[in-house]
């Protein structure tokens, strides 16, 4: 039995595939989803989604954050971007990291929400740098 993975962005359907197992970068830690998983709604941090078929990882995709809806037969990821890890560019991550750190530094110390947002951006930029292939 396979589980379907769908990645949708606000602009289009990014990917639709089936796999034995899907590993999601959930906000509270990596999470492997097998067919028949209990229904869940999960917050995602920046990180990589891995698809496993027959024990080997077939696809690795970077997402910058989002939400996932898990049902027994399907995982739907709402993300703003999903990129094959192979086509990531490290420099892009570094420029994002710099921008996010500047935003964090500029944010009002007492506005916790703005700080959270900036921190999430820093985290997802770091995840991009980590996931990008070495130049």
């Amino acid at each position: 039995m396979l589980i379907d993975l769908e990645i949708v962005s606000p602009e289009k359907l990014l990917l639709s595939k089936s796999a034995d197992m899907v590993v999601l970068p959930a906000a509270e830690g990596e999470m492997g989803v097998l067919p028949g998983h209990a229904p869940m709604i999960v917050l995602l941090r920046g990180g990589t989604i891995k698809l496993t078929v027959g024990g080997t990882v077939t696809d690795t995709l970077y997402v910058s954050g989002g939400f996932a809806e898990v049902t027994t037969t399907r995982v739907t990821v709402l993300a703003t971007e999903a990129v094959e890890v192979a086509s990531l560019v490290r420099a892009e991550g570094e420029s994002r990291l710099a921008a996010a750190e500047a935003e964090y530094a500029a944010a009002d110390r007492f506005n916790t929400e703005a700080l959270d947002v900036a921190q999430a951006k820093i985290q997802s930029a770091r995840a991009l740098i980590e996931a990008a292939p070495a130049a």
Binding site: S9, A38, L43, R74
Partner: protein, 297 residues
């Protein structure tokens, strides 16, 4: 009767107008197709988001710490109207309709003793409301003049500005006014309240037949999840309004340019009839002159 020359000039000028309007119609038709496919592509995300929100909102609603975006500030003294129009005219009553709806709503709310602020997206709406209700207009406004297409980042930008205003306590209730795309020839000016967020009717969870029904588990807790989901949902709602408005704009322009082309055709027909009649009359007159001249000899 106008001279033959002036008639010829007019016919030519109407002909070139017709060429322009029919070209604009073609352009609008192709832009409309693109806008429609964009709106279509945005649908799956919006649907899933709505489903998550429905199930989450139901479990959080009523709790005192529910986020502002969902429950509002608790009062409804100050209203913010976000008005979406096009940046360009020549689209029939498209811009006027939205502008008028916004103006009437603002007047109605004011007569109920509420304060109204207006934020415009699109040049035409800004210009119209600046004439009509300059006192209510926020200084800030957005236009996309000269831009090829709008994308989700634009919607996020608008949503961020609105959320910032909400946190500053600048308004209590936010309503979006835009042209809903009913069909190519009909755009309905619509108001849609976005803050406090109306909860969608809880749709049944997607459950394959044969499995026991269950409710969602949440990670992290509902409230934290909701706090992240709501700003995204606001951006989605705004994105949808932007897309519908842009599809509507091209639809309206297409049908108004179609009308203009047809009218130009009618006018050319009438003018050439007058022209031919005048030419014929001239010939007849000249013939009579020649004949009567010959007879006189």
């Amino acid at each position: 009767m106008p001279s033959l020359k002036s008639l010829r000039i007019r016919i030519n000028s109407v002909k070139s107008t017709q060429k322009i309007t029919s070209a604009m119609k073609m352009v609008a038709a192709s832009k409309l197709r693109r806008a429609q496919s964009k709106a279509e592509a945005a649908r799956p995300y919006a649907e899933r988001m709505e489903r998550m929100l429905a199930s989450l909102g139901a479990s959080v609603a009523g709790s005192p710490s529910a986020p502002k975006l969902l429950v509002g500030t608790g009062s409804d003294k100050t209203h913010l109207l976000v008005v979406f129009t096009a940046d360009r005219g020549l689209a029939g009553a498209f811009n006027t309709n939205v502008g008028r709806l916004a103006r009437n709503t603002a007047r109605r709310l004011e007569s109920e003793g509420k304060t109204v602020k207006i934020f415009t997206v699109g040049r035409k709406g800004r210009d119209y409301l600046r004439r009509e209700m300059a006192a209510n207009l926020l200084d800030d406004s957005i236009t996309y003049a000269g831009r090829k297409s709008i994308d989700f980042a634009d919607a996020e930008d608008i949503a961020n500005r609105i959320t910032a205003l909400l946190h500053d306590g600048a308004f209590d209730v936010c309503t979006v006014v835009y042209n809903r795309f009913a069909s190519v020839i009909s755009q309905v000016p619509t108001e849609m309240q976005v803050i406090p967020a109306p909860l969608p009717e809880t749709p049944a969870m997607e459950v394959p037949p044969g499995t026991p029904t269950a409710t969602y588990e949440y990670e992290p807790a509902e409230e934290e999840l909701l706090a992240r989901l709501l700003p995204q949902n606001l951006a989605i709602q705004i994105y949808r309004a932007l897309l519908e408005s842009s599809a509507g704009e091209h639809g309206a322009r297409m049908s108004s340019m179609d009308n203009a082309t047809r009218n130009a055709g009618d006018m050319i027909k009438r003018l050439s009839q007058t022209y031919n009649r005048a030419r014929q009359a001239n010939i007849t007159r000249e013939l009579i002159e020649i004949i009567s001249g010959a007879e006189a000899i």
